[in-house]
């Protein structure tokens, strides 16, 4: 509003002829030009180019138009069905765990606690560390034979699992590391959500004789709904397109047991099948959109209804 007013004032100072134009568009059109050019060069052109290249056999040296063959090939990839299921499992497991643990930690860290500020920052530290670094560190910690974790377990007479090297535990181990690393963000969002709830509600509830659990269920939980929506959307998007942690720990292995869509795509790129991997990226984009748009609408509608 104030911007419009200023522009109007400026316009008046110039010529009356231009006034109506500047009134309609808040800024003169040249003002949008730099951002528009950047958007065109770095987003619009590559996006449309990728649709084109996904329809070609592309060696970097030349391209050959082959219609939808890349898409057919990609869907007949034997790893893909596995990768698809793994992607969903990984996305929903990490997202669910971040919601539950993030909320629990946020409740703890908003209570009257000694060293609360310090503890809050400790929870956030893993977020600041490079994902690849985390992956390499955990690969060493969870080494089935020389790793710290299994060595400690062995001292108690427990034979630790193979973690990253056992086909049945690899994906969930990576998911657990992902949760550890990403929990700080979820906690932070929840802390902000909880702190924003007016204390009067809790006081009123206490007067009415509500216990701790009832206060949590009937006040905290419903009122942090916007925070929950944000955490779910952020962590689910992150989980569905996760790649770096998986690549740094197992590379999709052993065999293909921890492959997700993103790592299958990357392998096609590595192998030099550039058209095929571009088609994979288009598919990943569509899958993430197909899951996130309805989910986001659902979560936001709930928010409005409240």
């Amino acid at each position: 509003m104030s911007a419009t007013t200023e522009v109007r004032a400026a316009g008046r100072r110039r010529t009356t002829a231009r006034t109506s134009l500047t009134q309609r568009a808040t800024y003169p059109s040249w003002f949008y030009l730099p951002a528009g050019v950047l958007y065109l060069i770095f987003f619009a052109v590559p996006t449309f180019a990728s649709f084109w290249f996904s329809l070609t056999r592309w060696t970097l040296f030349d391209t050959e138009f082959i219609g939808l063959e890349n898409y057919i090939q990609f869907f007949s990839e034997p790893q893909l069905s596995r990768g698809f299921v793994n992607t969903l499992v990984y996305g929903f497991v990490t997202s669910g765990a971040k919601v539950v643990l993030g909320l629990a930690l946020a409740v703890l860290l908003t209570s009257q606690l000694v060293g609360r500020g310090y503890l809050r920052s400790v929870v956030f530290f893993p977020v600041l560390v490079s994902t690849i670094g985390v992956g390499i560190t955990f690969t060493a910690l969870l080494d089935p034979f020389d790793g710290v974790v299994n060595t400690v377990l062995a001292a108690f007479g427990i034979e630790g699992p193979g973690w990253f090297t056992d086909p049945s535990t690899a994906l969930l181990t990576i998911a657990a590391v992902d949760v550890w690393k990403g929990l700080g963000i979820a906690t932070l969002i929840y802390i902000a959500g909880i702190v924003a709830i007016p204390q009067e509600y809790y006081e009123a509830a206490r007067v009415d004789g509500a216990g701790r659990w009832q206060q949590f269920r009937s006040i905290t939980l419903p009122l942090v709904q916007p925070a929950t929506a944000t955490v779910i959307i952020l962590s689910l998007i992150g989980g569905l397109r996760s790649f770096d942690l998986i690549w740094a720990t197992t590379g999709g292995g052993p065999g293909f047991t921890s492959d997700v869509i993103a790592s299958v795509i990357y392998k096609q790129y590595q192998a030099g099948f550039y058209g095929l991997s571009t088609a994979g990226n288009v598919i990943l984009f569509l899958v993430v959109t197909a899951i996130m748009v309805p989910l986001s609408m659902l979560l936001n509608r709930k928010e409005v209804e409240r």
Binding site: T165, G251, P254, F256, G272, L276
Partner: protein, 434 residues
């Protein structure tokens, strides 16, 4: 194989020097210095060899200065090479695989033809085709050839009174003995912490496939032969058999290539199906054990079909983007790699694990396992690895063989999967019949 080869190469040969020729404009117009660059891989001893070659080269050519560039190995390196070639940003000389990986670079349109160079005359007839197209020769060897088969610990064999097996059944019997009487020695070492190492049962068996069916590679390229059928299927089945007998080292899922080299050197394991240039890693990490290490080909079902599978050396190439004085300097550098001084450096830093493909000659000080490999050459019992005869190599063989070795997939299933996997590569190359 590409990955295995690459690693091997890197390990073994690596040393291509950086070529930075500094400005010597060919044979001197203005007396300035020509600067060129040399791109090699990051795994030891390649960077060391590059440095040594450059130092010696610059001493011989004061008007040229060479600077080294380092790249990652594996498929990451492939992409880097392709990207730099296609954008015209390639180093003036670069070190890369020969065979099918070279063919994927489209050499006729990206590389400088070197057929008129003096060193070409010294190349072995096995090597020439793997750096050539129909239109000419593109690369000079750096490092020696090497064999893929079983690297074994001779002390373990002596202690248990074993002899080198010539058939698969003899090999399994030896494993049986080692498991029973070896006092904890693992009969067979596998290192799936680095997945490329899992491919040797299949890739190292290829000379045996050729012995049974000499047409195999050609027919494979034409989409007429399959891994899902014998004889090629045997490589997968052998791996499954060894895995099911429990002959692997306990930590095979997470052990790495250097772990495997150490285990066979120190006698913690008896057999390591690997490329013979693992000896360079052993030389670096456990030099005292070098003479305890021997080599034999992966045994075929019949002794008469047992042959050693040979990998040709990697080579140095010049891209088309290098022109004028830099091109002359680059050619000088490529020639230097195979000169007497260059050979001395190769022998010192990249001790050969097989015969050389060019002018260089093996010294008496070469590792003992070289004699074992030479014996196969003398007997005419060698064949090039598949990647040097056919351009068809799927990207997922190493995952498939990890699955077989880990019991996730059966041999038959994995072979059928791999047959499907190579289709993409064949289509990408535009081969007929796919």
């Amino acid at each position: 194989m590409s990955r295995a080869t690459r690693h091997r190469v890197a390990v073994a040969a690596a040393a291509v020097p950086l070529l930075a020729l500094a400005g010597c404009s060919s044979s001197g117009d203005d007396g300035g210095t020509t600067e060129i660059t040399f791109l090699t891989t990051n795994d030891a001893p390649n960077p060391e060899t590059a440095d040594a070659l450059i130092e010696a080269f610059e001493a011989e050519h004061p008007d040229i200065s060479v600077s080294v560039e380092i790249r990652p190995g594996g498929t990451e390196g492939d992409n880097l090479i392709k990207t730099r070639l296609s954008t015209g940003e390639m180093a003036d000389v670069f070190f890369y695989n020969s065979g099918s990986l070279l063919q994927a670079l489209n050499p006729d349109s990206t590389l400088v033809e070197l057929g008129d160079q003096e060193w070409v005359g010294s190349l072995t007839e096995e090597f020439v085709p793997v750096v050539s197209t129909d239109n000419g020769i593109y690369g000079a060897p750096l490092g020696a050839s090497f064999a893929g088969g079983v690297v074994y610990n001779k002390r373990v064999y002596e202690d248990l009174g074993l002899t080198v097996p010539e058939t698969w059944d003899e090999f399994m019997a030896n494993n049986e003995t080692i498991a029973a009487e070896g006092d904890g020695v693992a009969p067979v070492i596998q290192t799936y912490g680095e997945t490329w190492t899992s491919q040797l049962f299949v890739l190292g068996d290829f000379a045996n496939v050729t012995a049974v069916d000499p047409e195999w590679a050609e027919q494979y390229t034409a989409h007429q032969r399959f891994y899902a059928d014998e004889p090629a299927l045997l490589g997968f089945q052998h791996q499954q058999e060894v895995a099911e007998e429990g002959f692997f080292n306990e930590d095979f899922p997470s052990a790495t290539f250097p772990d495997g080299a150490r285990m066979v050197a120190e006698g913690e394991g008896a057999h390591y199906p690997m490329l013979s240039n693992v000896i360079q890693t052993i030389l670096q990490n456990t030099p005292d054990a070098v003479d305890d290490i021997g080599f034999f080909a992966l045994p075929a079902t019949d002794a008469e079909n047992t042959q050693a599978t040979i990998w040709q050396p990697n080579a140095v190439y010049i891209p088309r983007s290098t022109e004028g004085a830099e091109l002359e300097a680059a050619k000088e550098f490529v020639a230097f790699v195979n000169s007497d001084a260059g050979c001395d450096i190769q022998n010192e830093l990249l001790p050969p694990a097989g015969p050389y493909a060019g002018t260089c000659e093996v010294l008496d000080s070469a590792p003992a396992l070289l004699d074992d490999i030479q014996a196969y050459f003398d007997a005419g019992k060698t064949a090039n690895a598949l990647e040097f005869i056919s351009p068809v190599k799927g990207p997922n063989l190493e995952q498939a063989t990890v699955e077989v070795g880990s019991g996730i997939r059966t041999a038959e299933d994995a072979a059928a999967f791999y047959d499907q996997d190579v289709e993409k590569q064949a289509k990408q190359l535009g081969l007929e019949g796919w």
